[in-house]
Amino acid sequence: MGEVPLLKELYAQYQNQGVVVVGISLDEELKPVQEMVTAKGMSWIQIHDVDKTLVKLFNVKGTPTYYLLDRAGQIAAKDIPMKRLPGAIDDLLKK
């Protein structure tokens, strides 16, 4: 959860530059997810993957896990660490 401020910053910086952020929560219960999203102001798109279909689709083994997709919807990076995201996004936006 320590990465929320960094992701918030990233979202603020890129949301008007053609970057979409989708949070996919693996929690069993919906309530703590809603509470945290509100409390921390995580205003990007949020999905509650309660039946774990997206977890299976992307073979996610732990949290946090980031996938980065390019403008054509292709996988640009998987399991990319937060600190490398801004640079990788910049590279994709230049293409």
């Binding site: 959860m1 992701l7 990233l10 890129y14 053609g18 970057v19 979409v20 952020v21 989708v22 949070g23 996919i24 929560s25 693996l26 929690d27 919906l30 703590p32 997810v33 809603q34 509470e35 945290m36 999203v37 798109i45 949020q46 999905i47 509650h48 993957d49 279909t53 997206l54 977890v55 299976k56 689709l57 992307f58 073979n59 996610v60 083994k61 949290t63 946090p64 896990t65 980031y66 996938y67 980065l68 997709l69 390019d70 403008r71 054509a72 919807g73 292709q74 996988i75 640009a76 990076a77 998987k78 995201l85 996004i89 994709l92 936006l93």
Partner: protein
Amino acid sequence: MERDKLRHSILARLFGSPGNAGYLLGLGFLLTLTVYAQNTPTSDKEMDRVQAMIGQAKKDAEEFSKSGGKPSDASNPNLKWSAALWQYREKHPGTPATVIATIEALRLLNRADRLSELQAKVDTLKLDDAAWRQVIYVMMSAASKSKDYSYLITKAAALAQGAVDPEIKAQARLFIGNAYWETKDNDRARKAFQAVVAEYPQTPYAQEAEGNLWEIEFLNPGQPAPGFKRTTLTGDPISLADFKGKVVVLKFWGTY
């Protein structure tokens, strides 16, 4: 755990028996107390002793790194504590506390980057050692540090063949797949994962192997991300296809 099981089985036997319940109840409690008196304090004391060593090792390692020590330094306290925990193992074979001591002794060697010493110690473990389930993770960590997976693959192959515990056999095969995958030998990785799925169906190991087979096939950079349609927390329907033309960050997360 074993203690609880024993107690449960004693109580179950008591309440399941017709007739002389009072007598049996008394006997049962006496038995339970005796078992408790014989096992609990000693085994807990031994576990406490090992945990205290591990706690002290952690503190020493923190101070060592704060004062600028490097993992490979000869004065790394992890080496001293690893030796102490290994000595404990040799003096107390076959106890739960020894399993913990073994795992930590090896973990500390790995942390001190003493990979050949680590391998020499791992070589002394028999195929039926209860520590393997965790030791195999330590070996994976050592392999990924040195980028040399050959030792892990050899050991895991021996376990997959000869381990007594079927869970360790399945886990070893899974790790063989992971190791080959790390070295980008996808053909061998695929074979190992397929073997897990075929030989250990309906287990978490098979599930993980299936996930990995899917990832090897479909989740590589440059491949189209699998599409999905979902409803967001705010009730809006979204489809991944809606975002064509945009860069998308997917963050899988949890509140826990």
